[in-house]
Structures are given as structure tokens and as C-alpha cells.
Subunit: 151 residues, 2 copies
Amino acid sequence: MVLFRKARSEELPAIVRLLADDALGQAREVVSDPVDPRYVQAFAAIDADPNQLLAVAVDPKDEVVGCLQLTFIPGLSRTGMWRGQIESVRIAASQRGSGMGSAFIEWAVERAAERGCKLVQLTSDKSRPDAIRFYGKLGFTASHEGLKRSL
Amino acid sequence: MVLFRKARSEELPAIVRLLADDALGQAREVVSDPVDPRYVQAFAAIDADPNQLLAVAVDPKDEVVGCLQLTFIPGLSRTGMWRGQIESVRIAASQRGSGMGSAFIEWAVERAAERGCKLVQLTSDKSRPDAIRFYGKLGFTASHEGLKRSL
């Protein structure tokens, strides 16, 4: 049985390993012991912000087997609608195909609904067709272009 | 000369009118006098959150001729990168084609850079090809699918 809950600071090394264990993440992340201080700083910034929820999926041995970040965003449009935004979803290779990923996203959607969000959104790299199909099955519609500009 | 700055609460009615003056916004927004209390509540939530910047473009008479919302999002991925997210961009019909929209987005990108963001992102409805072209000219790449699910 896998449980979903808020991440604890001692789980940061495991989360960084998960972020790096990915085709795109490999080139973008730094795995080291101790954890690179930039991750420690980022964890603190997320933890200090009441509109951020960094969550993990843990197996019965309390090992981290998934992570995601949910951001609650207040907005004026659509009569002052809050939206939930999901970012940095990773599922451990050992768990893929188990249905855990879908359950984790549904759990995040419920957390967004609890906070009054009427929309949940995320962007997925076009080079990840499996991920895009996965979200399609979960009721997400690819109605928008996801535009990015590096600074 | 148009100036860009943080929105003031007394500008809320003008901002709501701008949000509604749009093909998609028309069906989604409520224009009334006084302003619908849901907008007042949303404005307060945005204003209370140090990671939100609701901005307006004002003409020399201090009339609101544009608005956008910028959200600063801390994250673990990409070695703890912050991202800036732009939402709810509207430019008054009177200003279209003047270059003001581009200047407004560049202003927002600078605010994101100031706060340490290494990426600026936004999603644009696929039914707005002009908007997607506009962001392309400003250096945004449509690398991602923008997936949404209504709750």
C-alpha cells in the first residue's frame, strides 16, 4: 500500500534522486551527498509558502516512490477562481504501471478541490507522449499551448 | 506613454471590465457595479500573497489599459529553480498593435528575473493563434502541452 502525504525535509535526498532518475531530469539535476545546497534552499522556500504543497508517495517501508508539487494560485479571471497547478511529477521506475501514478494525481486533485480550486492545470513536455496520454486518461484536456522562455 | 506597475484596489472594476472584454472572457466574467464580491475576495488573496504580482498598464490619464498576473513559484527541479508564471494577460482594444503588449510582457519578464526566476512560463488557449504567435516573437517556445481539468 502506497501512502501520499506532505514531504518531510529528511526526504529531500530521495526526492532529488527521483527528479534526476528521468530522461530530461538526468541533464538538469545534481545528485550529491550531502544534497546540493540549492535544493535545501528551494525546499525551505516551498515549505515557507502556504500556497505550495510538496508531496511524496511512500511505500510500506516509508521509502519515497513518487513526488509532485502542487501550487494553489489565486486569480481574478473566471470570477476570482483559484487554480491548482501540478509540477515536477515523478514516479519511481519500480512503481510504473501499478496505477499508483493515477492515484497520486487524483489525490493531488482532491487537495486542490479542498482548497477551493475549480481548475487543475499542468504542462507536459511534448517529448513525453506517454505522460500526455496518461493525463488525458485522467480527464485533462490539452486545450492550451505551454509556452516557456529561459532567462 | 504607458506605465506598468502593481495594481491598486480602486482599479479592480477597470481590471474586471478588461478581463470581460475578450472572446473567451465574455462568457466567463461578471461585470457589475459594485464589483462582484468574488473579485474583491480574489484581489485580497492575491494582494496578501508575496509570490503574486497583479500588474496594470496605465495611460497618461491613469486609465487602466492592460493587466496581467505574475506568480513567482519556488520549485525543486532544475536544481531548485524559481519560475515566473504569467496569467490573465489582457490589453485594451485601443492599445492593440501599439507594441504596448510586448513591452508589458518584457516588463513582467524583468520582474521575474529580479526575483531570481530562470524560466518564465504561461499557457495560451489553442483557440488564440494570434496570442501564440505574439509570445513566439517574444522568445517563448511552445515546447509543452498545456493540460487543464475543470473541477
